[in-house]
């Protein structure tokens, strides 16, 4: 170390006089770090790529502060009793035991969430891909208008009002009115107050709302495919739209497919706002009760944040499992 410093001061005496104190310090320090990094290949790799790390620093600081730390904190809260006012009390695995053994409503919520997620997840995913794929072939201005049409529910946010109009319980609801007119039923069905119908309706609405973030991402992904591949494919004997889709389009946007899958998993497990808006909270016989509803019940109404954090952790683990599974499927695309 000392040798390096001496070398530095002897080789550039003229410039070091002109340099400010801070810059001289920085220069000496960087030579020290350079020397230090030469000893190990791992350190050397990090040192040589220091400009890349420097580019990552601002985001990573903010990310760890506002995302990692809160998540870790709520993991920890999952093992405590915490009612927001008092300091958290350590209870070990009790929250998790209660969740799986003493909470029948949680089991209902898990069942409902799984039904909704397993139906809306794959179908919504494919739907947003198909719509994005069809729109992609249109001319530019038409395309942006049609994209707006499909993305409108996400911007305008009035989606629920339309559906609660359609499934209103009196004869003025559109579904009831048409079914009576066609003679299928004789008196109005109370769609959203009947445990039999709530889950299917929630699934329909959720499917319809699935053209969100991953829809936009898929449009961007389709735009990122080089057009020459299609022409080359046509020369090489691709005959129809479906072969083109399977052998060219999908393999070339695999990374975006993975992105959308992650978003779709998160979205379909996090269903909650739709059920509350349609069927109220709590819904009749908990027919539309999802894990997120359960979480909000404990977190925002009963103020048992420890228990709510335990629920969140269970959900998180389920999402990670699903993610692993789906990555394995996507890897097979185009082979």
């Amino acid at each position: 170390m000392e040798k390096a410093q001496v070398q530095n001061t002897t080789t550039v005496p003229a410039s070091s006089k002109r340099m400010g104190k801070l810059r001289r310090w920085w220069r000496e320090k960087s030579i020290q770090i350079d020397q230090w990094s030469r000893k190990k290949p791992f350190r050397r790799k990090m040192y040589l790529n220091r400009s890349l790390y420097l580019m990552m620093v601002p985001y990573l600081l903010l990310f760890s502060l506002f995302t990692v730390v809160p998540v870790v904190m709520s993991f920890a809260l999952g093992f405590t009793y915490f009612n927001i006012l008092e300091t958290p009390k350590w209870v070990g695995w009790n929250n998790y035991l209660d969740l799986f053994l003493n909470d029948p409503i949680f089991i209902i919520a898990v069942k409902n969430t799984l039904i909704i997620a397993l139906i809306t997840g794959p179908i919504g995913y494919m739907l947003s891909f198909v719509v994005a794929w069809l729109i992609n072939e249109l001319p530019r201005y038409l395309r942006s208008i049609i994209t707006l049409v499909f993305y409108a529910p996400s911007i305008a946010g009035g989606a629920i009002t339309i559906w609660s109009l359609i499934f209103a319980s009196d004869i003025y609801g559109y579904a009831n009115a048409y079914l009576i007119e066609w003679g299928i039923i004789s008196e109005p069905i109370t769609w959203l107050q009947n445990a039999k119908y709530i889950l299917p309706i929630v699934i329909i609405v959720q499917l319809w709302m699935s053209l969100g973030v991953n829809f936009l991402a898929m449009i961007a992904g389709l735009k990122g495919i080089n057009r020459e591949y299609y022409e080359a494919g046509a020369v090489d004997g691709i005959r129809n739209r479906w072969q083109e889709l399977w052998y060219i389009t999908l393999p070339n946007m695999k990374s975006i497919l993975i992105f959308s899958a992650v978003i779709q998993i998160a979205g379909s497990l996090n269903v909650g706002a739709v059920t509350t808006a349609l069927a109220g909270f709590p819904s009749v016989q908990y027919a539309g009760h999802t894990i997120v509803n359960h979480l909000q019940d404990y977190g925002h109404i009963r103020f048992e944040m420890g228990y709510a954090s335990a629920i969140a952790t269970v959900m998180f683990l389920a999402a990670i499992l699903l993610n692993k599974l789906i990555r394995r499927i996507i890897r097979k695309v185009g082979t």
């Binding site: 791992f42 709520s74 707006l148 129809n240």
Partner: protein, 332 residues
Amino acid sequence: MAKRKLTYEEKIQEKLRKQEEKRMRRNERKARSIDSRPFAEISSFKIMIKSRRRKRVNRSRAGDIILFIVLGFAGILSVLPLVLIVSNAFKPLDEIFLYPPNFIVRNPTLNNFRDLGIVLATSLVPFSRYFFNTVMITIIGTVGHLIIASMCAYPLAKYKLPGNKFILTLITYSLMFPAAVTAIPHFLILNWFGLINTHWSIILPVIASSLGLYLMRQTMVNVPTSLLESAKLDGAGEFTIYRKIVMPLVKPASITLIILNFRSLWGAEGSVTIFSEQKKMLSYALSQIATAGPARQGTLAAVSLIMITVPIIMFIVSQNHMIDTMAHSGMK
């Protein structure tokens, strides 16, 4: 010299010349709008050839028709809420409370907007203040997230650095954690850093959100590595490569990112972390108007029309900039 009267032929020639000029200018503008990057001449020439070919290969008419009928049906359902918002803004009060509602207004009126004007003119804090707050937060948040997140996404996507895989796993999994639970730790952290009751309490969490970074990373993976290598041979530093080569190539993704962030920030109320009236957002101020009861429902309808207009214009403008990438056209 007195101005000579033009003869008929001269007039026609003048007209033709002007038309020709106009056409030239239009062509020029088109060529410029297609691409302003290096090799623009070559790539725009390619586009011209392609657009002359019009239709893509391998299409059957029957498939087209069936698929577009399905699309049309879904599209009509999707656009209904938007139609309702627009027509509500022009409805008189008695028509707003009609059940079931009319999707097309019967007696259009501008009363709602006049009422809104009166309410805003008498508000305690000048209305422009709210507007300024929202615009500032939206711009800083959107641009900040775009720059900072994409700057981090580039090394994550194109290099195998020690620690990269771990960071990426963290980011992916953080997307899946339900937000309802992290609200309290979030507030605590903002409080530790003294950010409560500042605009940073809204901007910083948006900049730190992992959705945009993950999108950018997944798009940048597809940028050809040979392009980066050739830039490095020409003596470009990492930051220059990121700014001059990678960012233009992932334009579709950055547009998507801008749309997503703009939408969420424009609607941000900030009612949890911001307490002083001077710093409140536009959407908070406008939602206050609606709390006065049924008499204000007309004003509320006008407000919601105004609030969605800006994101929609933004959406259309930015979607128009989405064009096919030229990532591979430079390499032969």
